[in-house]
């Protein structure tokens, strides 16, 4: 833990972090209105009379959203509450047409669970899940279209969100980012949220407090709506420093809600606890208590896919991958699927190397994921097969990969087209070796004195053959001829 402490002027401080993640439920319809959900529709085109809170309109719960929330709860190894309830959270704002948000306050659909998160150094820590509840999203207020007016787009109004509340189990901004990444991976595996942070489909509220090591929890500030890993880290770093400075100056932290400004890299006060709304929560009388059939929950449980932790363990045991490689591959489900397709019948470690070190590295340089790969997994498998059977060396394979990346097609055809087949014909290699020894007597003597210097001859042979000579064969012939 000590490495995570922040040194202040007066001594070390510990950061304590808890996160509330708002994840948009991957449903085609809103939580209570049946209106379509989708990104890119024109303003106010996806708004029903329920979403616009017309008089006399009533909410009807979307069973699909309930199913996805339960599925998420099961994926977080959490308690599924067979009885839960929807409450109204009352406040006025133009993008909240009803004047209240339908949420779950006292009785959420999902209770305590946990997420195991890996740090960069490979060690793991556990983040407790406090609860998950379903709620409506608000609409969007647009303040920058007109200097004197605010426009409201209700497309998002009523969209289903899962609010996933963690326990205050993170101690550094890196841990917080790693937790969000892991949670996102789990949601995407479960198919319950698309995890698209750019579109705001996954957003975080970060609760930050600091304390002296070993002391009780400090007063926290909540930073609202942070929507990238980088911002989460930057916001925490700034906020922790701010709080430490106040405390070291003899001040105290006031509980409040703050906003992160990514431009200035700082947080600023949005409203204090005294200004906080009194939300006047009470059970929504338009909705019945939500009761789940245990058999239905069981059926959802049985339909769960292999989740990231299990997949990682399997990749390590079944394919002999390192924890790091397995971690990279399972981080995104399409990567894992790509790998498994390519690894079928092949040297899995080689496939993993080519997938992560070459393909993913190249893709991420352009900010792409595996779905954008110009090379299909079957071609990676074919490339590895050419290496495995000695048709090409690993070095040549890199050339072949370049051609594959350029879209020239299957590796075998590329090898043929560019004449990249490995020379394993010992007669041809011997002739070149003889010629080189004859032309470089001095070097030959040097090798005899210092066998490690044989590498110079290997290099020359490779140059002569355009890299196509089988390195093992070259070494063997050289050593025989030079008697080392």
């Amino acid at each position: 833990m000590s490495d995570k402490l922040i040194q202040g002027r007066t001594g070390p401080w510990e950061i304590v972090l808890g996160l509330e993640i708002h994840a948009q439920v991957a449903s085609n319809a809103k939580l209570f209105s049946g209106a379509a959900v989708g990104f890119g529709a024109g303003p106010n085109e996806q708004v029903s009379t329920v979403d616009a809170a017309m008089p006399g309109m009533l909410p009807v719960l979307n069973a699909r959203c309930v199913e996805l929330a339960v599925r998420t709860g099961l994926g977080l190894k959490a308690q599924i509450n067979l009885k839960s309830r929807f409450d109204r959270k009352n406040y006025f704002y133009p993008d909240l047409p009803q004047g209240y948000q339908i949420s779950q306050f006292e009785f959420p659909i999902v209770g305590e669970g946990e997420v195991i998160v890996e740090r960069d150094d490979g060690s793991t820590f556990t983040v407790g899940i406090e609860r998950l509840h379903l709620e409506q999203d608000a609409g969007k207020s647009i303040h920058d279209l007109d200097p004197n007016a605010t426009y409201v787009d209700l497309n998002r109004s009523g969209t289903a969100l899962m609010e996933i509340v963690s326990k205050p189990d993170m101690r550094s901004s890196e841990e917080a980012a790693a937790y969000v990444k892991k949670l996102r991976t789990i949601l995407v595996y479960l198919g319950t949220c698309d995890g698209d942070m750019e579109k705001g489909n996954l957003r975080a509220d970060v609760n930050v407090s600091v304390r002296r090591p070993g002391e009780g929890l400090g007063t926290r500030c909540e930073i609202k709506n942070v929507n990238s890993y980088r911002y989460i880290q930057q916001a925490i770093e700034y906020e922790a420093r701010r709080q430490i400075e106040i405390l070291e100056d003899g001040g105290s932290i006031h509980q409040e809600t703050r906003l992160f400004d990514p431009g200035k890299l700082e947080t600023r006060s949005m409203r204090s606890k005294e200004e906080a709304h009194d939300y006047r929560y009470f059970p929504d009388p338009d909705l019945l208590p939500l009761e789940l059939d245990p058999a239905w929950v069981k059926a959802i449980e049985e339909s769960l896919p292999e989740l990231p932790d299990a997949k990682k363990a399997r990749f390590q045991s079944q394919y002999g991958l390192s924890s790091y490689d397995a971690g990279v591959l399972i981080a995104e489900q399409p990567r894992a699927d790509f790998f498994e397709t390519a690894a079928k019948g092949r040297d899995a470690k080689l496939v993993a190397n080519w997938t992560t070190n070459e393909l993913l590295a190249r893709l991420s340089k352009d900010g792409h994921e595996i779905e954008a790969s110009p090379i299909p997994p079957t071609d990676i498998a074919a490339l590895v097969e050419l290496i495995e059977t000695g048709v090409i060396s690993s070095k040549i394979a890199k050339q072949v990969f370049e051609h594959m990346w350029a879209g020239e097609g299957a590796p075998a055809a590329i090898v043929e087209k560019h004449g990249l087949v490995q020379v394993t014909d010992t007669g041809a290699i011997e002739a070149i070796v003889d010629k080189l020894i004859a032309a470089n007597p001095g070097q030959a003597e040097a090798v005899k004195a210092k066998p490690q210097a044989v590498g110079w001859f290997v290099g020359q042979v490779m140059r002569e053959t355009g890299g196509k000579a089988n390195p093992a064969a070259v070494n063997e012939i050289l050593r025989a001829k030079l008697g080392v």
Binding site: A53, P55, G56, L58, R88, P94, Q98, D278, R280, F282
Partner: protein
């Protein structure tokens, strides 16, 4: 054409079926009656063109043998019901103007069965009131006057327009809603029949919400049979209302006239309240005798938590209302007042848009839901509500229906009680209990007081047992032989 407006709904249906007259003739007679009765202020919007167009369509369906069960009968629609393309305001300035793009489920059900709409009926603003004096369109006047007097009386509320219109023969029946007595008390004040069915019988979809857990639609009609005909059409499961009960709707009509012999009728002693006029006490006793004569067994029952019903109601209903009415914010529809900033726009819009009583209830509701007060008020009231429901469950062990007065007084003068909200709230003392418990209850006109004003008796039944309620109401109606009509002065 006064003979056509003096028909019961059942009589009109018979006449239409036998082709004694057409729906257009019937409707025209009522359109004329509505026009002639503007002094009552029962209608806030008359839709004669739409009515006659609907009547012509009804006549075509009658001619082609496709008549629905309400084919061709003209009705009035309480302004709380959203009607597609027809201004619907809940009689509030804040919804002036508002024209819905949708039809409430209850009115859609009525129109599916062939009913004709004459227009929108006056009511207390957002159904909050017991005298129809909180309407933004001004009070409705009761067609009844005290013997020899000409003072304007309240028709009760909140469905005052519905009750007045039916009592004055302006329509053959009307939709109404009841959150704490808003169907039954106006029915009692106007010599009409009004039933609030079991909570969840009628869909609330498209009805402007007052207090969601208490609101329930029902008809006001001239007779028990007419009420049964209307309710059969209005009710039905609606997947658009999560609190709508997923049950079949029986045909309620055959229950009217069914023998009540052997039924056990409970008389709750807690409904004998201090200060109740002797005439009402006597009428209640008379009702007990009528039912005994009809073969019922009379049992005294106790509903010990009755005295807490009114306070609990005036916590729960405003709490829900304060939240339900938050949507009227001037942002999307209805009234919008200008202001220097967002908060001012909200404040000015709601200050101008809502009347005093609505504001009072929003304030009470906001208060009782506030942090620090929630447990003491809202939660406590919900517990009382449970006890009240338990009282009824206990009563059903010894009886099949309950008989009580509908209201603690006859119609009073407009302006007489609106200075004292508590006095006004006391109107609901006998009716709120069944809203809190979700039970069906009907008001049947049973007699006139010494001043010549109608009085009603209330029959309460088990949840979903409207059948028994209609049977007992039918027996009372028959025994009472109530035929009196308000003498026409308008």
């Amino acid at each position: 054409m006064s003979d056509l407006t003096s028909l019961t709904l059942k009589g009109a249906l018979d006449g239409l079926r036998s082709k004694a007259f057409s729906s257009v003739e019937l409707t025209q007679a009522h359109v004329d009656a509505v026009e002639a009765a503007r002094a009552l202020n029962a209608f806030v919007l008359e839709t004669p063109d739409k009515a006659l167009e609907m009547a012509r369509a009804a006549d075509r369906r009658i001619a082609s043998g496709e008549a629905g069960r309400l084919e061709g009968v003209p009705l009035g629609i309480k302004d709380l019901f959203c009607t597609e393309g027809v201004r619907s305001t809940a009689c509030s300035n804040i919804l002036t103007p508002f024209v819905p793009t949708y039809e409430s489920t209850v009115t859609a059900n009525l129109f599916r069965d062939g009913a004709v709409m004459l227009g929108k009926l006056n009511m207390d603003e957002f159904a909050m009131g017991s005298s129809n004096e909180t309407s933004a369109f001004g009070p409705v006047v009761n067609p009844w006057r005290i013997n020899g007097g000409n003072q304007a009386l309240t028709p009760g509320g909140s469905s005052g327009g519905s009750a007045s219109a039916v009592a004055a023969d302006l329509c053959l029946g009307a939709t109404a809603t009841d959150t704490g007595g808003s169907i039954r008390q106006p029915a009692a004040f106007t010599g009409t029949v009004g039933i609030k069915p079991t909570y969840g019988r009628c869909s609330r979809w498209g009805i402007v919400a007052f207090a969601s857990s208490l609101d329930q639609a029902g008809p006001i009609a001239k007779t028990v049979e007419d009420a049964a005909i209307l309710l059969t059409s209005m009710a039905g499961h609606d997947p658009k209302d999560s609190t709508s009960l997923p049950v079949e709707t029986p045909d309620f009509v055959p229950f009217v006239g069914k023998s009540v012999k052997g039924l056990r009728i409970g008389v709750p002693k807690e409904y004998r309240v201090d200060g109740m006029p002797a005439e009402i006490e006597a009428l209640w006793q008379q009702g007990i005798e009528w039912l005994r004569d009809a073969g019922c067994e009379i049992v005294e029952v106790s509903l010990p938590h009755t005295k807490y019903a009114l306070p609990a109601y005036y916590i729960v209903a405003p709490a829900e209302a304060s939240s339900n009415l938050a949507r009227y914010d001037g942002m999307r529809y209805g009234l919008r007042a200008e202001g220097a900033n967002l908060t001012e726009v909200y404040e000015n819009t709601r200050a101008q848009g809502f009347g005093e009583e609505v504001k009072r209830r929003i304030l009470i509701g906001t208060y009782v839901l506030s942090a620090g007060y929630y447990d003491a008020y809202y939660l406590k009231a919900q517990k009382v509500r449970r006890r009240i429901a338990d009282d009824f469950d206990e009563a059903w062990k010894t009886c099949d229906a309950l008989l009580t007065p509908t209201a603690p007084s006859a119609a009073f003068a407009l302006g007489e009680r609106n200075a004292d909200p508590i006095a006004m709230y006391l109107n609901d003392v006998f009716t709120v209990t069944t809203n809190l418990a979700g039970l069906p209850s009907i008001s049947v006109p049973a007699g006139l007081d010494a001043q010549g004003l109608p009085l009603g008796l209330q029959v309460i039944g088990r949840a979903l047992d409207e059948g028994t309620v209609f049977s007992v109401a039918g027996a009372l109606e028959k025994a009472a032989g109530f035929r009196a009509k308000a003498e026409r002065w308008w």
